[in-house]
Symmetry: C2
Subunit: 443 residues, 2 copies
């Protein structure tokens, strides 16, 4: 304002100029909800700073939940929340909450967020883009003096990579009896939650009620290569695919590889090989984006010179439609039965996980799409093949997920990368969608 004071006020057009200047300077306050943008440089700097925490001596990032690196990452995240003007708490499950009060305290909370833990030898974008993007959105709202009607909460879920533990505590899917299971950190879930400041003895206190949540929005990297390959700015996620996993045990007869004629063998690994091929054939035999994977296999005893007596393999099937997962699995079981009969082996299927598909709310998808269009960003609807905390929160309230491109589709690896411009685009879509969403009145 000093330059304005320096203007000669006796100039004939001084008053007009002053008025114009005042209008220009006041513009953000006059039309606060139409134009704020996130601070791209600041967001990039925060993500870069996080990349120094848990830097693995081998390669990439290892901020595995409940390790010292995870704790450091969480402390840095809390410091960013404080800088953004958020009031922070840690719930009984260890999730980090940062709140901005809403204009109408009776309204349920609008939640945005993601996670800051990583897989071992992972990247610095999975979870961080959505977490720091959400904090940036809150800080931009504050700095732009945009007062939302709903209370805004930035929620950083703990241990996403180890099975959505934090968000499942909020949705009531994580139970007291699950707390003794071991985690990648070496600590039990109970020890891990206590380590990061949670209160595992009162786990149920972390549970939320549907009535308390207005909606949940999550920004995330795609972790697939579709957006990057098709040069699309923003992915409007249709839903998070259901994910069913089984341990498949195949029992044959272990025998000497030199002395057992081919026609007298009951080779569990040969049966497994036929099954792996059958899984691939079944899942690719119909159109659609369904996927099925055998990614782990163990053969017993596992020697050059012994026909395999037993094989245990991991089967993973995913689709947006639960009925399609069930149909595919049924065909796989039928095929297994045929293989078993032909080779004198026995198949059994032990369910490991059965995460149901979580569809994104159509109104929220619409809102994300229109926000992107206002920013002149191209969009594409696509499913999320990876799991996200959004699917837990989706059990309680409407949710949606915004994707930005992952270069080369690489994720959970040191080469994971998203461009600063894409990150900035994603955070701006989240900002605009949040502001728009706040105005919605749903019945």
């Amino acid at each position: 304002m000093r330059n304005i004071h320096a203007l000669k006020l006796n100039h004939p057009r001084a008053k007009s100029i002053l008025l114009l200047a005042a209008l220009i300077l006041a513009a953000p306050n006059l039309q606060p909800q139409s134009s704020p943008s996130i601070n791209s440089n600041r967001l990039r700097q925060h993500i870069e700073a996080m990349g120094a925490i848990g830097k693995d001596p081998v390669a990439g990032i290892s901020r595995v939940a409940y390790t010292d690196a995870d704790k450091q990452g969480r402390e840095y995240t809390i410091s960013l929340m404080h800088a953004a003007g958020l009031t922070t708490t840690i719930d009984a499950a260890g999730n980090i909450s940062g709140r901005l009060p809403g204009g109408d305290p009776k309204l349920p909370t609008l939640i945005i967020g993601s996670h800051v833990d990583s897989v071992p030898l992972g990247g610095n974008f999975d979870g961080i883009v959505g977490s720091f993007g959400a904090i940036e959105v809150a800080q931009t709202l504050m700095e732009s003096h945009v007062q939302l009607r709903h209370p805004l909460e930035v929620l950083i879920f703990q241990n996403e990579e180890g099975g959505l533990q934090g968000s499942r505590a909020i949705s009531g899917e994580l139970h007291e009896q699950d707390l003794n299971q071991s985690t990648r950190s070496g600590k039990s879930l109970r020890e891990g939650i206590a380590f990061i400041g949670g209160d595992p003895d009162h786990l149920s206190a972390a549970r939320r009620k549907p009535a308390d949540i207005f909606a949940y929005l999550e920004l995330h990297i795609e972790q697939g290569g579709t957006l990057a390959a098709e040069k699309i700015d923003i992915g409007v996620v249709q839903g998070i695919v259901g994910n069913s996993r089984w341990d498949v045990t195949i029992e044959g007869t272990a025998n000497h590889a030199g002395t057992t004629p081919m026609n007298e063998r009951h080779d569990a690994l040969l049966a497994a090989a036929k099954f792996i091929q059958a899984v691939n054939q079944i899942v690719t035999s119909i159109p659609g984006r369904q996927v099925a994977t055998v990614g782990k296999i163990q053969t017993i005893p596992g020697a050059y010179n012994i026909v395999s007596g037993k094989v245990i393999l991991g089967l993973d099937v995913r689709d947006l439609e639960q009925s399609r997962i069930e149909m595919l699995f049924s065909k796989m079981q039928d095929e297994a039965q045929k293989i078993a009969q032909a080779g004198g082996t026995k198949f059994s299927f032990q369910p490991v996980i059965d995460d149901k598909p979580a569809l994104c709310d159509p109104r929220l998808r619409q809102l994300i799409g229109s926000s992107a269009k206002q920013l002149n960003l191209s969009t594409k609807s696509l499913p999320s093949g990876a799991t996200h905390d959004a699917q837990s929160i989706g059990r309680l309230a409407p949710m949606a997920v915004i994707f930005i491109p992952s270069i080369g589709g690489i994720s959970h690896a040191p080469a994971e990368f998203s461009r600063p411009q894409d990150i900035s685009n994603g955070a701006n879509v989240l900002l605009r969608a949040t502001i728009q969403l706040d105005k919605e009145v749903w019945k």
Copy 2:
């Protein structure tokens, strides 16, 4: 003789009776080479006593080479040799030698033997039947006052189960530079050989010359189920199959199992599954007793939710004809190339072992067959799918192997079993064949 002395010598037929009695009593000495039989009870007791040494707390027998149990088993074996009248030595490689001098010291040595080490959690018949059978043959010859022309040597090879180490030292196939390799005992080969009383620093002293060996005969359990299933007493081994092994590495691209569409995958485990099936199809597509096995597989990284980036599997191919092994392997490589091209993966083959087939000497096979027939035992010619020390000694001299039935074809397992009658039959065939062989004059 006391009863004979008690006869009334003045009886008219006393002299005739005495003469007859003397003839009867002297009979074994008059026709020593036509009729001696081994002492079945003694042999059975020796085998049973050995079963208490290295009895594994879990199941079966663990007399793994260079362990304390192996040492105890060897000490017991040496004690049996001494009881049989053999002069024992331990060569530089740690093999146990027990010798009987021959009638003509200029003749080369006739060797019989086997091994007394076992696999972990193995049985008490593999190796023991042939080792103790050979000692029993020597003891029977001694007790029957049968003097062979050739020096007789009972040779107990060390560490057969860990790669024919003892017999390969004798044939010159084990080299100084191999001694640093580790063994199942935890000791290096060098430490192991020293542990059992060998002199690894002078390994080459164990090497033998072809001119010093007349022939080698080995009695062994079949380790397959053919003889037992067909109720055949004695197997006349045609030869020991060649055994080629490769580590097959399949490189694909590791990727997220949820976010990577099926048509964008380069799945190393799917390629491995197709290859395992191709191996089976190729080996069973032509008549013959050839076998091929994939018995071990490792997938990297090996998780439910990651498309495999790399697979390493073990391929084992065996046949009596080397050219057939090569032809089969060539077809497998061709098929791998097709699979690689179709799925965007890469196959490479790293040779692990390449043991050439070792054919049994036709004259010795003939001799084993005729010995069995004289004992009214049924015979069948068959290959040995398992390796034996005989194949090392076959590099130096004519060799042959006598099989007895393995019940259910089970071997290298606690349930390994051969009936006392079959063991006794085998040892008697070895005895008779040894006596006959000693008379042969080959050019």
